[in-house]
Every structure is written in structure tokens, then in C-alpha cells.
Amino acid sequence: MDINLIKSQFPIFSKKVNGKFLTYLDSSNSSQKPLSVLKALDYFYKNEFSNIGRSIHSLAVNATNKFEETRMSVKKFINANSKDEIIFTKNATEAINLVASSFGQKYIKEGDEILVTDLEHHSNYVPWHYLREAKGAIIKFAPINDDGDIIIEKFKELISPRTKIIAITHLSNVTGTIVPIKEIVEIARKKNVPVLVDGCQSAPHIKIDVKDLDCDFYAISCHKVYGPTGVGILYAKKKWLEELPPYIGGGGMISEVKKNKVSYAPLPGKFEAGTMPTAEVVAFNESIKFMNSIGINNIVKHEAELTGYALEKLKKINSVNIVGNPKNKAGVISFTIKGIHPHDISTIVDEDGVAIRAGHHCCQVLHERLNLTATARASIGVYNTKEDIDVLCKAIENCRKVFGSK
């Protein structure tokens, strides 16, 4: 795998920000986009643009075919059983809301329990909180240990006969914890509880095989997978999509509409109301091709190496503290520096062209658990290099200089 070749596919890295080349370590927030994706987007708009599914002129036929090609690619990418199991949403947040709303409407009653974990992103908590408010459901939080790993025994104990659904992240966007989803699903299966996996951070960085994981729902954000903004994906087992009521209602998701009744389209249309992010979905096919062209195993290997390198170098810097030490850790490295607030760190390293994130990363519950209000986070994408880590470490030294730390 030639990292320079990969990096050169991303136009943004040939530009200067503040007179410096960009050291982008904020991929957990959103990834940069390779040229092939941007070209496909631009080409589609300039040469082939049309709405899909509705009109039957040539442009519409072509656009519909391309749109459905992406659906097929996604199906293969995550190894779903059928393209009908792939629903396009606006982001992963909508995907999770869809499940919470439709599943909750049908299956959740007062006193029923929803099991989440201390690791969850607000997007995998607030939608369930709505059911607490609307239905009187109970949310339980599966605890983590100080390393940032789910405590499996405690997790098991928290599944009760009233547990109706488990919602859990595949990869923490703060500690980088890779959660053993297969094991979790096996536990849940025994108790007959469906599992929704928040795959936002995992999809770009580890192999996803929904058949192997055997989860019921899987949510992905395309903009984190080297794709355009405005697109997310919900994978769900077909039986769920058939059983659940539709979410957003409108054009394209209906079968027959009369003044006194409405019937809904077959899958996947039933869950895709209104005009889709057509061009963005079409272009996302190139993101998958980009991932496949490198190969997920190579991606994992490269990012693991880089993560190891970064952890080693960061740990050597006085007063830097790495948040969490999970058994399996991906390239998400949150840290604090004694005496320097994460906001100040971010501002200071930004001066050297280093983009990291500071704050609670939409995980306030986790930060409370860790007794922190905010952390700084460097997160790795496939385009990052050891030099990027070196630049980060230098910039951190500069923070300490500005703040006069020893």
C-alpha cells in the first residue's frame, strides 16, 4: 500500500491552510473526499442530472440505475442479504431515529427497557430518550471499565425480560474502543433482543459484515466513509423493514393514496420519502470503490500501525494523558494535557495547520463517566502518515511552550 499515492488522491492535501499544508486529524468528525468521488459528483450534475424513480425519460432512467448501483455496492460492502435491506437516509443520526421511532411506535410500552452503553454518541442516545419521554420507557446504561471497555458481565446482567432493544456503538468516537459486537449479538440473541449497531466510526475503519455480526440494524454515515455530506445508510434485516411502520411520509414511499387511506411501497421505497440526495448517493459509489481499491485489510493494517506510532510518541510527551486504554483500539486518540484546556490545545495546534477536535465529541455521558468536561481528539483516516503524527507532536510541544509547561 503506497500511502503517498493514497494521499495524492485527496485534493485538499495539496492546498495550504494558514500558509501550512493541512495535517488533518479530525476524520472521526468527517473524512476528506478523494478526487474520484468529487469527479463523479461533478460529472453527474453536469452531464446526467435528473431526479430518480419518478420520471421515465432517459436521464431519469440512467440516474435511477446509478442510484441503485450504489445500493448494490453498499449491500456488497457490508455483506447484506438483499439490496432491499439498504435504506438511504440523510445521515446516521436519521438512521437511528428511524429505528427508534418506528420500532418504538410498534414495540415499546411504558416500563420497557432500552439498553445502551456509557460509550454512546448523543445520536445513539437522544432518539431513545424520546421514547423515554413519549412512552415512559427506561434507558439503562451498560457500564465501561476505566480502560473504556464494556464490562461484558455487567452488560449481560442488564438485559432483563423487559429489554426491548439494545443500541450500541461498534467503535467509540472518543476512546477508539472496538466493541465486540458479535459477542454482544450472541448474548442478545439468547434473550431474543434485537441489536442496533451505531457503525459510524467502524464503517470507514474495520471490516463490516452484517451477516457475520448478525445484528438487526446497522447505521452508517457516508461523509465519514470518504463520501459526500448529506447521505447516511440504515441497514436492517428485511423482516424488520417489513414489520416496522414507515418513518418520513411523502412522495416515493407510497403505493396507493386515497382520501381515506394510504398504502406504502415495497422495500426499500417505503423508507425513502421525498427527493433523495440523488447526486450524493450516486457519487458515494466511488467512495466504496476507493475503499475496495485499497482493501479493508490494508486499511486496518495501515491505521493500526499509525495508531501505535501515535500512542507511543504521545505517551512520551510529558503531561499528556491518553483517554482510555481499550483491548482493541482504532485510530481515535483522545487526550488531555495537564494544565491546558482542550480548546486551547486545538487553537494552538491549528496555528501549525493541525486540525483536531476539542470538546465532548457529542459524548457527554461518557465524559461524565471519565470525569472530564472536554478532551482533545486526534483521529486518523486512511490518508494519514507518520509525518502527520510528527507534526501533531511538535504542535503539542508548542502548546506546552506557549503555556510555559515543563
Binding site: 431519469a60 432512467v61 435511477t64 440505475n65 403505493s255 396507493e256 411501497a265 415495497p266 421505497g269
Partner: protein, 156 residues
Amino acid sequence: MDLKELYQDIILEHGKSPRNYGKCEKYTHQAKGHNPLCGDQVQVYLKLNKENKVEDLTFEGSGCAISIASTSIMTELVKGKSVKIAKQIIVDFLDMIRNTADIKSKDLDDDQKTKIMSLSGVKQYPMRVKCATLAWHTLTSAIDKKKEDVNTESID
């Protein structure tokens, strides 16, 4: 692509003057098909006799020339056939529209083959394939006494 391939005289003629239109008497099976894209609908009425032979087959509905002609031709070809052969003809037709260049059935005479092949031009028009196949899927549904209506969005 060539419009003349799609709109052959035989299709236009059947489209304008469909055969076997209306509700036949004492039908034993029926089914409804629906294309949500345009609102088109078709109902087929099937009368099987004791030997499981198609004694009568008629239809009602609205649709484009392709869809009406396809339905009309289907009723002509299937009438008088046994259910087994009827099913084979359906499979052959769907196969021809999707993949192969020809119609394999040995149960159709040359004239009937010409009729069915008049629909082959639809292949070039992917958005119109559903217009041509709706009635055939609906007939299958009638034969099998399926409960749900046929919906073009859930067929290939």
C-alpha cells in the same frame, strides 16, 4: 433504440382494441396488479375448469399501450392452455423480456410466437419493462391465489 421496435403495429392494434376485456362470467380466480409510479392498474379474471385448464381469461384496467397490449396478447395466448403450460409460458415471457433473445416455449405456434415477440422491443426501455410484465405477474398471482396485490415496485 428504435421507437418502431417498441411500438410495432401489432402492439398499437392490441393497445387500441384489446381482446378479452371485461369481467368474464363465473371466474374462479382473480388478482389485481398496480404500478404506483403512474397509478396504472390491472385486474385479471381467470376461469379454470375441472381439468385445470384455462377456460376463460379476461382483464380490466387502465394503462399505456405497452401494458394493455401485453395483457391482451397474454390472454389470447394463455386461453385454452393447461395451468402447467400457462405457467411455462409466463416464465418464458419474463425470461425473454429480461434476458434471452427468443421465446423457448414449444406450446405456442408460430403466429403466437410472433405476437409475443412483438413485445421484445421493450427490453431497450428499462422503465417500460414493468408496464409489459405487470399483467403476467398478476396472472401468476391469480393462479396461485396469492393474497397481496402485485406491485411493480416489488417485481424485477
